[in-house]
């Protein structure tokens, strides 16, 4: 998988190469113990304003490579807004002002030299509701690949198959790739958009409440998928379902009123939080 990623033509991109993390996959060390090569994203003093409203205040955090990091917090706390900062989705909204830094592999993403389309190819995103294009299943997965320029049909076929297999969807759709994606069930659609996101082999995958619109069985499938995907991707997941955060994530950040209240390994956040606010939220006293 890593080999395949190296083949992708990123020559034109100003992005630096991806270092291999030193810690083994099982090891969940405390953020304070991370070395530079373990860190994928670094956020420093990030503030975000919608007009006069401050939505995010002085967020500073680091995200570990090939780990699942969950962002939790009550509705309106800014967790989705923070997530959308990582692929600069907030740029689409008028009147948004962002200060502070976000570095992806040591590269400031707000830098004028950064091509925003290239950034989004490296930082994929899956939304709350499945949003397949009104095209065939095959064309949905191939969409991002075709954007990168033409490639032989056979290679395109291989990559689509690879992405669908990695999104645990291949078994269900291999015989109806040319049917409309809109005829699939909600859970299938959500796995399809995950396949679509990983088809272009990003470094980071942002999941914005990916299971909130799905039934329990589909949710379970998505969670299993997240487990598998973290072997290859750095995953950030926003969820308001605390059990889900506890099940799938390695690290958890708790946001409240636009501030990052606490950020540590999931184990510590859920068993022994330092802050009173975190404990209150985890134990269900508000939120």
């Amino acid at each position: 998988m890593i080999d395949e990623r190296a083949e992708v033509a990123y020559e034109s991109s100003p992005m630096p190469d991806v270092p291999t993390p030193t810690s083994s996959i099982e090891e969940i060390t405390s953020p304070s113990a991370w070395r530079d090569e373990d860190i994928c994203l670094t956020v420093s003093d990030l503030c975000l304003h919608y007009g006069d409203n401050e939505a995010l205040t002085n967020i500073s955090m680091q995200v570990a490579r090939q780990r699942v990091t969950a962002l939790i917090g009550p509705s309106g706390c800014g967790k989705s807004t923070l997530l959308r900062c990582f692929n600069r989705m907030n740029d689409l909204i008028d009147d948004v002002r962002i200060t502070g830094k976000i570095e992806l592999n040591g590269m400031e993403i707000h830098d004028t030299a950064v091509d925003i389309a290239q950034l989004r190819r490296r930082v994929g995103m899956v939304f709350q509701r499945p949003n397949p294009f009104p095209k065939s299943i095959y064309e949905n997965v191939a969409y991002g690949l075709r954007l990168q320029g033409s490639m032989p049909k056979s290679e395109l076929d291989d990559r689509v198959e690879w992405a669908l297999k990695n999104a645990a969807l291949w078994e269900e759709v291999s015989d109806r790739l040319n049917e409309s994606a809109l005829d699939m069930s909600g859970g299938q659609q959500q796995r399809l958009v995950i396949a679509r996101a990983i088809a272009i082999q990003p470094d980071v995958l942002l999941l914005d409440e990916p299971a909130s619109a799905l039934d329990p069985i589909s949710t379970l499938k998505i969670e299993e998928l997240v487990h598998q995907l973290k072997q290859d991707y750095t995953i950030l997941i926003v969820t308001h379902n605390m059990q889900q955060a506890a099940r799938v994530s390695d690290y958890t950040g708790f946001l409240y009123l636009g501030k990052l209240v606490e950020y540590d390994t999931t184990n510590i956040i859920f068993t022994n939080p330092t802050e009173k606010q975190t404990e209150d939220y985890i134990t269900g006293r508000y939120g």
Binding site: M89, R120, N131, P132, Y143, L182, Q189, I200
Partner: protein, 563 residues
């Protein structure tokens, strides 16, 4: 008292039930369905009226021989009964104050199409039923459709070839054979005219312009052109000679037709398009002739100041102009809508522009015609002539009304429709789909072309449907920017560049106006007005139906996800 109480009670129950009926919502359902029924009835009534009035014209109706007396003179005529009506005594007396006899309450009068405009004018006349002495339907009356002077009615008495009477046993068969012969010769002449003479003329004109161009450039060397011209002129002379010979052959035969009053007129067979004997024709024969007449109406050129013949050039011009208009307006409107909805920052200015665009749709169409004449024809067309066609001056090439300017003017007229419906389609596309595309690293332009435009295509087509319906029915602006009563050539022909955007063209809408109101022969033209109107409506229906089918397909394909 008891009875009156019972009545009151009854009434109150009734009133209550009336109110209950009102509240149940049933009247509302009736009202809404009645509105729909009225609309459907109006549309069907419109098409039905046009069809009945227009299509009956092509039926070979029977010809009567009528003898009538008026002011002491007896007249015999052949004619078709084209209308029958009753007028009141007062109306009759006002028209005929000298009439002395006792007049009944109502007077019946007939409109007879007598034809024979040359020998026995006028070709339509009103008769009072009480003037008619005798009328019957003779079997052997012949109707002759001619290239000029309208139809002729009479009895076929002889056929002359070069002034000598032809001796034949079956006069009618001989007559038909000779009509076919002249038709074949006429076709041959037409082919020579269209394929060769027009082509040579076109080339000669190009050479003339090239000469003039060189003259303007100060280049006196034109010998190569003159040589070319010489060749063309020689070619022309040969073909012209052929045409002369054919024309001579054409003039060989004449047919003698006895009119109702006994006079015999000789009609050159070259002037006859077809002849039939309606009174002795079988039903199938009439049906066949009817379909043939309908077909000729669609495919023939108009004759006799548009009151006879077909409407092919107008049909062609209408469809071509609408297609050209669509090709011009759609990209323009879609691009404008894309800017307004996808790129422009939504604010008071954009809102103002949107209102202005909507208001543009309400500007009277003749105003667009005036604008088109002033801006497109005189300014842009004039500038094009100055820049690219100085050799043709003072005759304008593009600086005169023509197909391209008519299409552009109508495109301008319909662009608000396209903008509005495209914008509606764009707003309906969920933000999630756009974000999905952008999140995969697509640029905004890629998102628009690969996702948004395909999804908005049904709305764009809806806009096109509305635009086509409006443009195809528009007449007023066209009169200023390119439509003429009679265009000598079609805008598409075999001469490079095949599509001649600078040519004037004919249009069904204007044709209706021209035939109906500018015609010297109102009675003859009236059925054609209905038939042409029906054709115009049918064209719009066909164009719309095609677009609607296409739109429904696209809608099924790009329907927005429900999940």
């Amino acid at each position: 008292m008891a009875t009156s109480d019972a009545v009151t009670q009854d009434l109150s129950i009734q009133r209550q039930s009336l109110r209950a009926w009102w509240q149940s919502g049933d009247p509302w359902i009736w009202l809404t369905s009645a509105a729909v029924a009225a609309s459907v009835a109006a549309v069907l009534g419109l098409i039905g009226l046009l069809a009945v009035n227009g299509l009956a014209h092509f039926w070979p109706s029977q010809v009567m021989a009528i003898e009538y007396e008026r002011f002491g003179t007896k007249t015999k005529i052949f004619g078709e009964l084209s209308e029958r009506e009753s007028i009141s005594r007062r109306q009759f007396m006002e028209a005929n104050p000298a009439f002395e006899e006792q007049v009944p309450e109502t007077v019946e009068r007939w409109l007879i199409k007598t034809g024979n405009r040359q020998a026995n004018p006028p070709d339509f006349r009103w008769l009072f039923a009480h003037d008619v002495i005798e009328s019957n339907v003779p079997d052997d009356v012949v109707v002759v459709e001619r290239t000029e002077w309208g139809a002729a009615y009479g009895l076929l008495v002889d056929i002359e070839q070069d002034g000598e009477t032809v001796d034949t046993r079956n006069l009618w068969k001989e007559f038909q054979a000779r009509i076919e012969r002249t038709a074949a010769i006429r076709d041959e002449i037409d082919t020579l005219q269209e394929d060769s003479i027009n082509g040579i003329n076109y080339e000669l004109e190009s050479i003339r312009l090239e000469k003039r161009r060189r003259q303007l450039d100060g280049n006196r060397e034109v010998s190569d052109l003159e040589a070319e011209e010489e060749v063309l002129r020689a070619e022309y002379a040969i073909i012209e000679n052929q045409v002369f010979k054919l024309t001579e052959q054409l003039e060989r035969d004449t047919a003698g037709l006895a009119l109702a009053d006994g006079r015999v007129v000789h009609i050159p067979i070259s002037a006859i398009i077809q002849a039939w004997m309606p009174n002795s024709m079988s039903m199938w024969g009439k049906l066949w002739l009817y379909l043939k007449n309908l077909w000729n109406f669609l495919t023939d050129d108009p004759r006799e100041a548009n009151t006879e013949g077909g409407v092919y050039p107008a049909l062609f011009g209408t469809v071509l102009m609408v297609l050209l208009m669509s090709a011009l307006v759609t990209p323009f409107g879609v691009i404008a809508a894309l800017y307004l909805r996808e790129y422009a920052k939504q604010g008071p200015l954009v809102q103002l522009i949107r209102i202005a665009v909507n208001n543009l749709a309400g500007v009277p169409s003749i105003v667009y015609g005036v604008f088109g004449l002033g801006f497109f024809v005189y300014f842009i067309g004039g500038s094009i002539d100055d820049l690219f066609f100085p050799e043709a001056k003072p005759a304008p090439t593009f600086g005169t009304p023509g197909l391209i300017w008519a299409s552009l003017t109508l495109a301008l007229l319909t662009v608000p429709v396209i903008i509005v419906s495209t914008e509606e389609g764009l707003t309906r596309i969920p933000r999630a789909v756009r974000e999905g595309s952008l999140a995969l690293g697509a640029t905004k332009a890629e998102t628009i072309f690969k996702v948004i435009l395909p999804m908005a295509s049904p709305s764009i087509l809806t806009g096109m449907i509305l635009a086509v319906a409006r443009a195809a029915g528009e007449v007023a602006p066209l009169m200023l920017v390119g439509v003429v009563k009679l265009a000598p050539t079609l805008p598409i022909d075999g001469n490079f560049p095949y599509l001649h955007l600078d040519r004037k063209f004919m249009h069904l809408g204007f044709h209706i106006y021209d035939v109906g109101f500018q015609s010297p022969n109102v009675d003859a033209a009236r059925p054609l007005v209905f038939a042409t109107a029906l054709l115009l409506v049918l064209i719009i229906i066909v164009l719309n139906f095609t677009a609607i089918t296409l739109r429904n397909r696209l809608e099924a394909r790009y329907r927005v996800s429900i999940n």
